[in-house]
């Protein structure tokens, strides 16, 4: 048994065979195939070749921009007409190895599992075990003794242990897990995580599994059963493993050969193994392209000097233009060395390496008359670098252009955009057709001919597409305006209003300052209504310890920093006149006391509702309440009201009824509803019959190591649970959606906007009619800014919530800002198309840089910098609205 050949492995039915022929499987396109694989079965007919890849360059982990700028030797002479440095980002694939090794630890009793990875990164092993007798695929936490130092338990089922370099010189980050094979552990499961990028490395969507169970289960009993350690659950046939039979185990088996079969089997099972895999990590790398334009005093020609620190062969695909339309032309010769003409449309020049540093560049000498210099960079057949989705543009006439204006996509002409589209489709098609070319070339034509044919197909398809597409959007539609379908019978429920509500938050954190907010708002009533809002949420009206109103004291005293009770009534009246419903902001969770008790604690109330300490929950020691325990979380700044007390509820119902009658409020915005059971809310609403109501259930989303989890189901579940407790009589602010929008927009991770089931990931995906979507309020934004929406991306947020189901709420500060007209247009698109809180949303794209959805088959939208156009099927889409990184279409 010393030298085990593959053949004998195959024929020996008692051994596990791990087939290694990679021809059996298809690596996903996105991954690289390792080439260090051994093929133990040589089946020539099945062998397939893999296209060689571009050489991978070492990642420049953090290239300091300033340092690089300094490096560029842009001539600083006076005749410089223009110079600029363009940052470019490219995704580089870094290849490395990662291995799994199982062997005996030094003391020969325990075993050790080692996982290592050679790629740079903050690697974490996320792992757990399963025990004998466990069914299903659940993980358990391993026993304490098994956890290497530095491990962190995650919930009750997993451990995270960082991989470390044993010493500075090591290539591999490693983690070692010691375990005793006699234990009850059936298998070790793990996935690898790179904290740096947040990427998870799994085994095709599943965890890696190192089973120990076979050995334990049939410990010497069943001959012919599979046994031995192996990594399986699909992984096995891919392993390019080398079975390393540890010397010790050989020795054992020889020594014990006369002994019982049991022990022999047992020993034979104790096979260590070593598996090595290639691993590919996508790293976004920043590079710089510097361009300087100067005039040669001798020849009068313009010289464009282009340099970059992008490693490898870089081809500049370039041309010049005569005017602002930026139509590509080929200038007259001479061209720099290594230049070819590409299809009479552009030139291609291979940048020459510079003597110093790892940079390359070229000098382009051009006649004076040219207006601008256009270029894109081509790294390989599939990788093009552009400037913000567009061509790089360098003005050549010093006076005509202000540096920094290059490539502003708004003003680019049709030609340019189709050109940039062309480049995109080229890559896609080339990916698909390149196989064809390589195959056929053997039979018929030379590769170059094929290549040009493929390029031609691409160009033609792109051209045809751009024409067909433009004709679709410009053809005016015949008068097919379908008779307005009768709106669904309006059923008003306090959770949803009519279902077509759009909410305006009518104040911010500063609104109390003037002392006459009610009057100020009254002047804006018709304006707000004309924007399309149907409901307005007013600030908390009661006397309050804090000026903003959220520390109420005497509930029946409605003279506040926002104005007097009479002004409030006047405001409500004028809001009603312009057709808006009014929500009162009611604070039911807590109430500030008027008097101290005998211990000097503030817990005795005054005014019309002169409750004593029985109205205060018992479980907050600060306020020494004598009521029951709180039915929710506590708000620690004031006595929390005990809603379980009959008299409290009776008083509150009376109060809400009074507000409805006396002031004319139509509904409620409930503050801090985490503080008490939703069932009470239902009680209050049934008594006060609001037209619309929404609760603020705000708690934190789930994060792992500072990164928001993709799956926020538990977060939205808590909100939905609360809505459920109110029996659906109230909606709730969709905090989940806000949180996910934060991550998606801030980090360009638009894929987050689709949950595992392809639905919106917030409350709006689960219970749209009860979700009140918002992106900002007086707490998160305004002058408090507890959790401010990513700056500059507000309109993307509104493009999302105002086109999606749920009831959208718009914050006052955004309405009265430069966003106003865009918000108004979004609202009118929503109203025009009858989007309501139950509209159906179909997510059509949720990718890294773009999210797109079609709502009720009437409105299409996209947010993010990526490309999306609605499908041109039976419906005709016309662009309704466009802004920074968002577009909205409607069917025409």
């Amino acid at each position: 048994m010393a030298a085990v050949t593959i053949d004998s492995l195959l024929q020996n039915p008692t051994l596990v065979f791990r087939p290694k022929a990679k021809v059996l499987l298809k690596p996903p396109r996105s991954l690289d195939c390792s080439r260090n694989r051994k093929l133990p079965l040589s089946r020539g007919s099945c062998l397939c070749s893999f296209n060689p890849r571009r050489t991978i360059h070492v990642v420049r982990a953090s290239s300091s921009e300033t340092a690089l700028i300094g490096n560029f030797d842009i001539s600083s002479s006076d005749d410089i007409l223009y110079k600029d440095i363009f940052p470019v980002k490219r995704i580089e694939k870094v290849e490395g190895k990662f291995f799994i090794r199982l062997d005996r630890s030094k003391d020969q009793h325990d075993w050790q599992l080692t996982v290592g990875c050679s790629l740079p990164g903050k690697w974490i092993l996320h792992w757990g075990v399963s025990y004998l007798g466990d069914s299903g695929s659940e993980w358990d936490q391993p026993p304490k003794g098994m956890r290497p130092p530095g491990s962190i338990p995650i919930k009750d089922y997993a451990i995270e242990t960082p991989l470390k370099k044993l010493s500075e010189g090591d290539i591999f980050h490693e983690v070692k897990i010691d375990f005793n094979p006699i234990s009850e552990i059936a298998a070790i499961h793990f996935v690898l995580k790179d904290e740096e990028t947040g990427a998870w490395y799994q085994h095709r969507g599943m965890d890696f599994k190192v089973p120990l169970v076979d050995y334990l289960e049939d410990d010497g009993n069943i001959v012919g059963a599979k046994r031995g350690f192996g990594v399986w659950s699909g992984a096995l046939q891919q392993f390019s493993n080398v079975l390393l039979k540890s010397e010790a185990s050989h020795a054992d088996s020889q020594n014990n050969s006369i002994e019982s079969k049991d022990s022999k089997n047992k020993n034979r099972c104790l096979e260590g193994f070593y598996e090595e895999q290639s691993i590919v990590k996508e790293v976004s790398v920043g590079n710089l392209v510097s361009v300087a334009v100067r005039k040669s005093p001798e020849t009068g020609k313009v010289i464009v000097c282009l340099e970059t620190d992008i490693p490898g062969d870089v081809v500049v695909h370039w041309g010049v233009c005569r005017d602002d339309a930026k139509i590509w032309e080929i200038p007259a010769a001479p061209y720099p060395p290594e230049t070819t003409v590409f299809k009479n449309k552009a030139l291609r020049t291979l940048l020459q390496p510079k003597a110093t540093g790892n940079r390359s560049g070229a000098l382009f000498t051009l006649d004076e008359e040219h207006f601008g210099f256009l270029f894109v960079l081509k790294l390989d057949e599939n990788t093009w670098l552009k400037f913000k989705e567009n061509d790089f543009y360098v003005p050549l006439l010093g006076t005509s252009s202000v540096p920094g204006q290059y490539g502003q996509s708004d003003s680019t002409s049709e030609e340019i955009s189709s050109k940039s589209y062309t480049d995109g489709i080229i890559n896609e098609i080339r990916n698909l057709v390149s196989g064809l070319s390589s195959e056929k070339s053997q039979k018929t034509k030379k590769k170059e001919v094929q290549e040009s044919i493929l390029q031609e197909i691409e160009q033609l398809a792109a051209e045809a597409y751009s024409i067909f597409r433009s004709s679709i959007t410009t053809v005016p539609d015949e008068v097919v305006s379908e008779t307005e379908t009768t709106k669904p019978a309006v059923k008003i429920s306090s959770g949803t209003g009519t279902g077509f509500e759009i909410l305006c938050q009518g104040f911010n954190w500063e609104s109390h300052k003037s002392g006459r907010w009610y009057m100020e708002l009254k002047e804006k009533a018709s304006e707000i209504s004309s924007l399309g809002f149907t409901v307005i949420w007013l600030p908390p009206p009661t006397e309050s310890v804090s000026p903003e109103g959220y520390m109420p004291k005497d509930l029946y005293n409605l003279n506040s920093r926002y104005g007097t009770i009479d002004e409030l009534k006047e405001l409500v009246k004028s809001l009603h006149e312009v057709g808006m419903k009014v929500l009162g902001d009611v604070v039911l969770n807590h109430r500030c006391a008027h008097f101290k008790n005998q211990n000097g604690v503030w817990n005795i109330f005054g005014g019309r509702l002169n409750w004593d300490d029985r109205a205060v929950v018992a479980d907050d020691p600060h306020f020494q309440g004598r009521g029951n325990k709180s039915s929710g979380d506590n708000f620690h700044a004031a006595p929390n009201i005990d809603h379980s007390q009959e008299f409290v509820r009776k008083d509150l119902k009376e109060w809400l009824g009074w507000l409805r009658e006396e002031i004319g409020y139509d509904g409620w915005r409930l503050d801090f509803v985490r503080g008490f059971w939703g069932g009470y809310v239902k009680d209050y609403f049934e008594a006060s019959g609001p037209y619309f109501a929404v609760g603020e259930y705000w708690d934190s989303l789930s994060y792992t190591y500072g990164e928001m989890d993709h799956n926020q189901d538990s977060h939205r579940q808590r909100i939905v649970d609360w809505i459920n407790a109110t029996n659906g009589t109230a909606g709730a602010f969709d905090v989940t959606t806000k949180g996910i929008l934060h991550s998606a927009l801030e980090r360009c991770e638009y894929w987050r906007l689709s949950d595992q089931k392809g639905k919106p990931p917030g409350v709006v995906g689960w219970w749209p009619s009860r979700a009140v979507t918002f992106i900002e309020n007086h707490d998160t934004g305004s002058t408090q800014g507890h959790w401010r929406f990513p700056g500059g991306k507000e309109m993307q947020g509104y493009a999302y919530i105002l086109t999606h189901p749920g009831t959208p709420a718009v914050f006052y500060d955004h309405i009265f800002s430069h966003h106003r007209s865009e918000i108004a247009s979004l609202i009118s698109v929503r109203n025009r198309n009858g989007i309501h809180c139950r509209s159906l949303v179909k997510i059509v794209k949720a990718e890294r840089d773009v999210y797109a959805a079609i709502i009720d088959e009437k409105v299409a939208m996209k947010i993010g910098p990526g490309y999306y156009e609605p499908p041109s099927g039976s419906q005709r889409w016309s662009l309704a609205l466009e802004g920074r990184d968002y577009k909205v279409w409607e069917t025409s």
Binding site: L10, N12, P13, F17, V23, L24, L25, K26, P27, S30, L31, C33, S45, C46, C48, F50, F98, G198, A199, W200, Y201, H203, R204, G205, M206, K226, G234, L236, Q237, I279, E282, I425, I429, L432, V433, G435, E439, I453, E456, L460, A462, Y465, F468, T496, W751, S754, K757, G758, W766, W767, P768, S769, P805, C837, I843, E847, E857, E869, P871, S872
Partner: protein, 536 residues
């Protein structure tokens, strides 16, 4: 082993990997058909023997291993040979010519033609509209279509012309104005349903031989049109133009307009309605009933048929058991209704085959794929459309026989439809119906050409491929249809790959993951969020 990067994963990727990862232990040794996959081709014998050894070794295998099979299979030279015959056409936009003398988006079509030629597509299909060409009775303006034919010829492609004697609503191409005008005063030239509503997109088959068009019969008018076409396009005949399909009814298909509107997405197609209520149809029915000695049966269509959107069981005519369709009356009515359709087809096809008989072009007619409710006994959708095809009667015999008689070939649409993508409750089976019609056609030696219903149906390209390359391969397929979507980045790359896979069935191993992705995609569409009701 491979490592999936999940970070930037869309949902698709996740589900893809999960799909790919089933442990196939159970397949080996238990499910025999899996093993058959491996042993089907003789040249995979060596592999086969290994398999058995694998089994002995208690091997666990993943699903992916099965995917590798096509590589082995494709080594067989037999498959590629049959493919040389295969010709792929692509439909030009319906409104390539819409006002007689100019070509719409000619530049785009020009570019598209070149691209298709380079891809290795055989030719294009061009819809030629009655309403565009014959704006005045007997006066034909072919200039726009001639221009297209020249473009096609120049591009080195073949041309298949579809003569359309119907109107289109999207894009809007009406019947000739003078016909519409006649229809305004004489609505009986159109089909009518039970409620008296007229279908104005084509003429009723009952007026074929009635002189309703300013003293001429529709058949005479069609004849004039076809003859003018033949003489005008004679330079192209047989060289560039290799096929002509004759418009036979609504959407050019041989059928009654029993389904006015396609069902909205997410809803299930109803059974449709019989279209025998225009005065001329009623006259024919009356004569037929009297000739059969049952004059009372000739007063109208079945009283107990459901309406357009209803399900078969909502009234008694189509009921699976004891429905009136099985009664003597039902047989009487359905025999008449379907034979009228076949006679109509015969009139037009004999006309067109006599006109083009002396040329080298092939003549086609299109037969619809009325696949909804195919799994019921009555096949209501087919019955209302005019095909007396039920669980107990093959209604396509008469149709195929009629095509054979006129030496015409059949175009069958819907080759992109697969059963698994049909709504479960629709009891529909496009695949079985397609198989039935094709078997019947084989029997009568009628050649079948394929067409897809729509580009972008889930799993459509895969299904087409299956139909084209299966045991009974189709040698001509027309892919519908060129336009913005066709060339869009969402579609064109997959089409390119499709064309490539047809001409080159040897799959590069890199392709398979993308096949898988497609499969995943369809899985996802079948769980279309729209179908689930959102809680509200």
């Amino acid at each position: 082993m491979e490592v999936s990067v999940i970070r930037s994963s869309s949902q698709a990727k996740i589900s893809k990997t999960e799909l790919g990862c089933r442990d196939l232990r159970f397949c080996f040794g238990k499910s025999n058909d899996k093993n058959k996959i491996f042993s089907r081709k003789p040249n995979s014998v060596c592999f086969d023997s290994q398999i058995s050894r694998f089994r002995k070794a208690g091997l666990r295998f993943t699903l992916k291993a099965v995917h590798s099979d096509p590589i082995l299979e494709s080594k067989s030279p037999a498959t590629s040979k049959s493919l040389d015959r295969l010709r792929l056409f692509v439909g030009l936009p319906l409104d390539a010519v819409s006002d007689g003398n100019s070509v719409n988006h000619a530049r785009a079509i020009g570019a598209g033609l070149k691209a298709l030629k380079l891809l290795g597509v055989e030719g294009v299909e061009l819809p030629v509209w009655w309403g565009v060409v014959e704006n005045e009775m007997g006066k034909y303006d072919w200039s726009g279509y001639l221009a297209v034919a020249e473009m096609v010829q120049k591009a080195g492609l073949k041309l298949h012309v579809s003569l359309c004697f119907h109107a289109s609503s999207q894009p809007r191409i009406p019947l000739p104005k003078w016909v519409t005008k006649i229809g305004e005063s004489q609505s009986s030239i159109f089909f009518a349903d039970r409620s008296g509503q007229h279908y104005q997109q084509c003429l009723s088959l009952a007026v074929d031989d009635l002189a309703v068009l300013d003293g001429k019969t529709p058949v005479q008018v069609y004849q004039g049109f076809c003859e003018s076409f033949k003489s005008t396009f004679s330079p192209f005949m047989g060289s560039t133009i290799t096929g002509i399909s004759m418009g036979l009814g609504p959407d050019g298909e041989l059928r009654y307009p029993s389904h006015h509107k396609p069902a909205k997405s997410g809803t299930i197609t109803g059974v449709g309605e019989f279209q025998c209520y225009d005065t001329n149809m009623l006259n024919l029915l009356k004569q037929y009933a009297e000739a059969n000695g049952n004059p009372l049966w000739g007063l109208g269509g079945p009283h107990d048929a459901p309406t357009y959107d209803q399900a078969p069981n909502s009234n008694s005519f189509f009921k699976d058991h004891g429905g009136s369709w099985e009664s003597p009356y039902g047989d009487f009515f359905l025999s008449w209704y379907s034979s009228e359709l076949v006679s109509h087809g015969n009139r037009l096809l004999s006309l067109v085959s006599s006109i083009f008989g002396d040329t080298e072009v092939n003549v086609y007619g299109k037969v619809p794929l009325m696949h909804s409710w195919y799994k019921t006994r009555a096949h209501p959708s087919e019955l209302t459309a005019g095909f007396y095809n039920t669980a107990s009667r093959n209604g396509y015999e008469a149709v195929a026989e009629m095509f054979a008689r006129n030496s015409c070939k059949i175009i069958l649409p819907g080759m992109d439809l697969s059963d698994e993508h049909q709504p479960h409750d629709a009891l529909s089976s496009p695949e079985s119906l397609l198989a039935q019609i094709r078997t019947t056609c084989n029997k009568h030696r009628v050649e079948v050409a394929g067409q897809n219903l729509a580009s972008g149906a889930p799993g459509g390209l895969e299904q087409i491929k299956k139909n084209m390359l299966g045991e009974n391969p189709i040698d001509l397929f027309t892919y519908q249809r060129m336009g913005a979507h066709f060339f869009s980045p969402e579609h064109f790359p997959s089409f390119t790959e499709f064309v490539r896979s047809l001409s080159q069935p040897e799959l590069h191993p890199d392709d398979l993951p993308s096949d898988e992705a497609e499969a995943t995609e369809s899985v996802q569409t079948s769980s279309d969020p729209n179908i689930h009701l959102q809680t509200a």
